[in-house]
Symmetry: C2
Subunit: 194 residues, 2 copies
Amino acid sequence: MIETRTRRREIDAVASGLFRANGYAATSVRDIAKALDIQAASMYAHVASKEDVLWSIVDEAATTFERAADAAEADAADPVDRLAALVEAHVEVVTADPERSSVFVTEWRHLGGERRPAIAARRDAYEARFRGAIGDGIAVGAFRPTDPALAAAFVLTALNGIATWYRADGRLSPDRIADHYVELVLGALTEATR
Amino acid sequence: MIETRTRRREIDAVASGLFRANGYAATSVRDIAKALDIQAASMYAHVASKEDVLWSIVDEAATTFERAADAAEADAADPVDRLAALVEAHVEVVTADPERSSVFVTEWRHLGGERRPAIAARRDAYEARFRGAIGDGIAVGAFRPTDPALAAAFVLTALNGIATWYRADGRLSPDRIADHYVELVLGALTEATR
DNA sequence: ACCATGCCCTAACGATCGTGAGGTAGGAGG
DNA sequence: CCTCCTACCTCACGATCGTTAGGGCATGGT
């Protein structure tokens, strides 16, 4: 068993696209199966349940975001660089796989049992990194004094919005988007000339 | 018939809450009926279909946003004031009815037939107001040169995010949120000191 | 040669979905 | 008194949902 479950990966990829386009609840197991040219019941040779598909998509997306944020925070000198690196990393993850990212952002509430609070906690921990960078930036006088929690929500919702509208064949490349968003975020926090 | 369909209004209010919490597709007509203490079939004395409920919520929300933006643009001297007024108006609408706003933002894709493209067009026209204010601000040198379409997407997704996390009993009042968001948005567009 | 495993099939289950048909109770207007 | 009208009821429909059961046919290791 060198190759690990290629069909299983295809299911996640196809399901991500359908979930992003129509939502988890409005996508049936038969829809996913049809996109793979197999019967609905054949899905269950690879998956235990429909929710398991959502879970593996969301779990993997969460891990990807977490690892990218780890790397971003690792090589950042000051809070400003750290926030810039976090923003850039987030944009890169989103644009690299907008389907998975979008599902992670919008469909996690359909998880049941332990999974929903578990993901909620990871989302909160992730947001705390942004709050932390913003709070530290204010503390050292690099950012103007504002509400770190509110500013973090502002930044993260703006970043997550990319997952909604981004298309790979769009006008702007991921790099351009990342550059612009870093500028917008840093601008929002450094100065207000009203 | 002086009073116009109070029961019909209750349906929209209750359905907005359920749609925001669980999504349109995951909310059954029986769920809405149960929240009103009536039978599912009794809903159809007031509504032609489940989608009609979504439509009236979304349509009314869209109208509310449009009217608020009209008023905001009416008494604005320069592009900077105009954008600030648009942001403030948007925050006010969202915080005044987060349920309806959230449904408008996230559930309109479940509309079928003519309604979906119609709402898409109105959403785009609304976003164009932000693009316009930003573009005009750049033209007069008030905003730094950036991509107006991208900046508008940045701003609007950040604003719409409020509908997701806002709670009436939360830490920050709508006014405070509006003030902070205006500052963040204007800061994002006016200066970048990297 | 044999058996396990991966991948898919058909058939069908009980539940739940949105919705229609037809009836009833109560209040308002002639 | 009669007749609407509103608001609700019960009952039931066909469709679709997620999922299970059980079987078939390859491939590849032993």
